[in-house]
Structures are given as C-alpha cells and as structure tokens.
C-alpha cells in the first residue's frame, strides 16, 4: 500500500530532511511514526500525500508512483487518501456538515448522495448534533473529529494523520485514537505521526522511529 525505496530529500541549504528511507506498509496496517521535532516526520508525510517530491528514490502510495505523478493526476491520487493535520485545517466559515461534504462536492457527487453520506459519517464520528455548527463553536476534539470525518468521507485506502492529537487533552486524544483504530479495523491503512510516547506504548501498534531524517527503529 505504501512503499518508500532509498528516499532522500534535501532542501536548499543544504538541509537533509530525509536520508535513505526504506519503508513498506501493508494494506490495513496501523503504524505510528515517532521522532523528535525536526526528525523528518512532516517531510515524510508531505511525500505520502503528494505535497512534495523526493530528491531521489521512489515513493509508491495506493498504486501511484509519486515520482512520476503529473499535476493532472494529483487530484485523483488525493481522492484515494485522507489527510488529517494537527491544526485540523477546517474552513472556519463553513459548518461541520459543509466541511465534511467538501471532498464529495469536489468529486461532483449528487446533492442527495452527499447529504446521505455526510449524515452517515457524522453519525459514525458522533457529530450528528453539531452538523450545523461552525468550527469555532465546537471543541478541539470535535474539530478533529470533523477533520477525520472529512478525511474518511470518500472512503480512502490510506489515512495519514500528522500529530492528530497534538492540540488535544489526553482524554480527547484517546477518543481520537480509538476512532482511528476503528477506521483501521474497517480495512483502511492508518499512518499516525506523533511524539506522544505514552500513547504509542499503550496502543501496541507497529512503530517506526525517525531521527535526523533516518529510520532508526521499526517494531514490525
């Protein structure tokens, strides 16, 4: 499902953000990516979501070779993945329902299909009651659940979460992780970047450690 082969990423400076990354993640796996700030987690996530290209090496995600992907193919690729950020990246002037509906609107789905599917998804993440609320009027946990619902609404094969609990308290963090585990149990590959070591220990999932741009540990 996800394959990194001898991936290097160097920014001008030069800053070696990633060095010889060799990584393989199977379909339906739940993987933690841990490491200190500046270790290269975010760079790796940008590669996974086609927001950046490697300087050398190969990246394959959901059947797409991201080295060769064209600008026209990127939207198609993004419809196969879901991405969650620490800062949620919700549109502040649209309600929960409209935020969650965005991927389906962009895909051109019909109005009644969108309405039905969003209602189902909001039910699944426990936000049915908040559907017409603006993001600024719901809690951080609810905002993150909205972001998760938006990332899952189009049923992606891969869910990428960059510090999804970074802005949440421990209780809400556990709720979000439970939700991500449920998503994984339904067959979605889930990759979560975090530096919350306690949570990683409690979950007992495959953990890949990154330090200074290199993989220094893989609990597989």
């Amino acid at each position: 499902m996800i394959q990194f082969s001898h991936v290097y990423k160097t920014y001008t400076g030069p800053i070696h953000a990633l060095k010889n990354i060799e990584l393989s993640i199977d379909k339906g796996e739940f993987v933690f990516l841990t490491g200190p700030s500046g270790a290269g987690k975010t760079t790796l996530f940008k590669m996974l979501s086609a927001f950046d290209k490697p300087t050398s090496g190969a990246v394959r995600v959901s059947g797409f070779d991201l080295n060769l992907i064209t600008a026209q193919e990127i939207p198609q690729f993004r419809r196969r993945i879901g991405v969650i950020f620490q800062d949620f990246k919700l549109l502040r002037d649209r309600c929960v329902f409209e935020n969650v509906a965005l991927p389906l609107l962009a895909r051109g789905d019909r109005a009644h299909q969108i309405t039905r599917r969003v209602a189902e998804m909001l039910e699944q993440v426990g936000l049915s009651e908040k559907a017409r609320q603006l993001p600024d009027f719901i809690s951080g946990g609810e905002q993150q659940r909205t972001a998760i619902a938006r990332a899952l609404i189009h049923q992606p094969g891969v869910l990428i979460a960059d510090e999804p609990t970074g802005n949440l308290d421990p209780k809400l963090s556990e709720e979000i992780m439970d939700l991500l585990e449920r998503v994984c149990a339904q067959g979605t590959t889930v990759v979560v970047a975090t530096h919350d070591h306690e949570m990683v220990k409690r979950r007992s999932k495959r953990t890949i450690q990154i330090s200074d741009g290199s993989i220094v540990g893989d609990s597989r």
């Binding site: 927001f51 965005l102 991927p103």
Partner: protein
C-alpha cells in the same frame, strides 16, 4: 445541500464582497470609470468618424481631358471608370457644362467673365467621380492615387486632380484617430485588467487556506480556479454594463447641451450613441477581460504543490 456551480459562485462572490467590501467597491468604481472612458472614446470616435466620412464622400476626382481627346479616348476612359467597382458616379462634364458652372460660381466675384467669349477655349471637358462609400475613409487615398496613376497614362487625359494634399491630410487624420483610439483604449483596458487582477489576487490571498484544503481533498485545479475566474468575469461584466449606462447618461447630457447651447453647430441631431451591438460587445469584452485577468492571476495558484510551498516549516 446545494451543489450547483452557480450557487458556489454566488457564495464565493458574496464572501469576497463581505470580507473586502471597500476594495471591491473601489475596484468596481475604477472599472466603471475606465469602461466609461472607453465608451466615451468610442462614442466620440464613431461620431467624428461619421462626420469625416460624410466629408470624405463629397470628395471628387476630376479627370481633365485634353483638346485632342477623341470620342474613342473618352469612351475608353468612361469604360475604365465604370468597370472599377471601387468608384461611383463617373460623370462626363462637357466644356459647355463646365463653363456654365464656372460662370455661376464666379458671377459675384468677376462679372466680366460672364461676357468673355474666349473662355470656352480654356475650360476643358472632364470626368468627375467619387470613391465608393463601401471603401473605408482611411483607404480612399490609395484608391484615388492608384486610379489617378492609371488614368494619367490613358490617351486623351490631360490631368487628374482630387485635392491630393487635403486628402492626404484627411487620411492621415483618420488613421491617427484610429490608431490613437486603439492605443488609448488598450492602455485603459490594460489598467482595468490590472485593477481586476489586484482584486482577484486579494481574493486568492484571503482564501489561501481554503485553496490548500481544496487541494488536500482532491479538488481539481479547474474546480478551484473557476470561482475566481467567474468572479473576475462578473466584475468585468458588471463594470462594463454600468459604464454603458453611465456613458449613455453622459451622452444625453452632452447632446442636450449641443441642442441647447450650441444649436448653431447643428450637431445635436447628427451625433449618436454607440450602436446597441457595439455596446453589447463592450459588455462582453468586459466579461472576457475580467475572466482573462482572473485566469492570469490564478493559473498557477494550485499546481499540486502550493500547499507544500506555503506550509513548509
């Protein structure tokens, strides 16, 4: 859940006006002013062109025949003029007819000439013709020149005159008017396009976060750009439409002034506003200019990597 593109465009434009009302209003005012100037220039230009064309239509070419011109020569010249579709009204003016006209014109200035029996010897017969109205005023000189050159070498022709200097000046003025108008309007439209692009650019900056999110969820570049292009098109269209209305209002005021205060010029009844078709074309042009400037502004906002560029930290 409303999913139509028009609803999306309406929401998009509504937000632009809500968040940047002053900028949007200032942009609209500047654009209306620009298109009003364009409308004014076109109105003045078309009226001036109409008046000058009327003058041009009255320009006559005279082909003076020499004393030895035979009937065959005259017939050949007449045939030559009648076969040229660019010319109209070729008319043979006999010596006698020319003399009568000459005497009528000179009667009040030189009454003695009316009794001069020898005068007939000095006044030649001639062909008089003008250039077809279908020929543009700016091209009339060339038609006259080439025709005159052909006529000069024909047997029986003594001289060809058509007020060359005046026609040259007239043609040069028409050409200057055309090119001056084109350059002036181009400058105004270019400035208007920049103003529109600035408004769209502000709209893009305001929606940077939204654009990133749309990229993230797999929206195509066209899906992201279309509301901005629609916003530009509507801004251009609305501005040019309002400008046509304003131009027409100003035209009525000016026309009223000509009819009232400057009635002696008799221009009040001769000047007209732009044709409805030209006005409609100008509105369409405003729409296209707005859409084009918006497209130039947004064509590279989301090449698939924009979010990476702005979020790289």
């Amino acid at each position: 859940m409303k999913t139509s593109p028009l609803y999306r465009l309406a929401v998009h434009i509504g937000k632009s006006w809500r968040y940047h009302f002053s900028l949007q209003l200032a942009t609209l005012v500047v654009l209306v002013a620009s298109f009003t100037v364009v409308g004014g220039v076109l109105t003045i230009g078309s009226n001036l062109y109409r008046v000058l064309t009327l003058w041009g239509e009255s320009m006559q070419v005279s082909v003076y025949l020499n004393e030895t011109a035979s009937l065959d020569n005259i017939s050949s010249i007449k045939k030559f003029l009648e076969n040229d579709s660019r010319l109209e009204k070729p008319r043979l003016v006999s010596k006698e007819e020319a003399l009568i006209t000459f005497r009528e014109q000179m009667a009040s200035y030189a009454p003695d000439l009316l009794n001069d029996k020898e005068l007939l010897r000095f006044i030649p017969a001639s062909f008089q013709f003008s250039v077809s109205k279908l020929i543009a005023a700016a091209d009339q000189l060339e038609v006259m020149q080439t025709t005159a050159n052909s006529l000069k070498i024909m047997p029986g022709v003594d001289e060809v005159t058509f007020g060359q200097d005046w026609v040259k000046n007239y043609t040069a003025f028409i050409r200057t008017l055309n090119w001056g108008g084109i350059i002036f309007i181009t400058i105004i439209i270019t400035c208007a396009a920049f103003v529109m692009a600035n408004a769209i650019h502000t709209s893009v900056v305001q929606r940077r976060n939204e654009i990133e999110v749309m990229e993230l969820i797999g929206a195509t570049p066209a899906y992201i750009r279309l509301p901005f292009i629609g916003e530009g098109a509507l801004l251009g269209g609305l501005a040019s439409f309002l400008a046509m209305g304003l131009s027409f209002g100003l035209f009525l005021v000016v026309k009223d002034y000509f009819q009232g205060q400057l009635a002696f010029l008799q221009l009040g009844t001769q000047i007209h506003f732009l044709d409805a078709q030209v006005a409609a074309e100008l509105v369409v042009f405003g729409v296209l200019t707005g859409a084009l400037s918006a497209w130039l502004c947004v064509r590279r906002i989301n090449d698939g990597w924009a979010a990476s560029q702005s979020s790289r930290a």
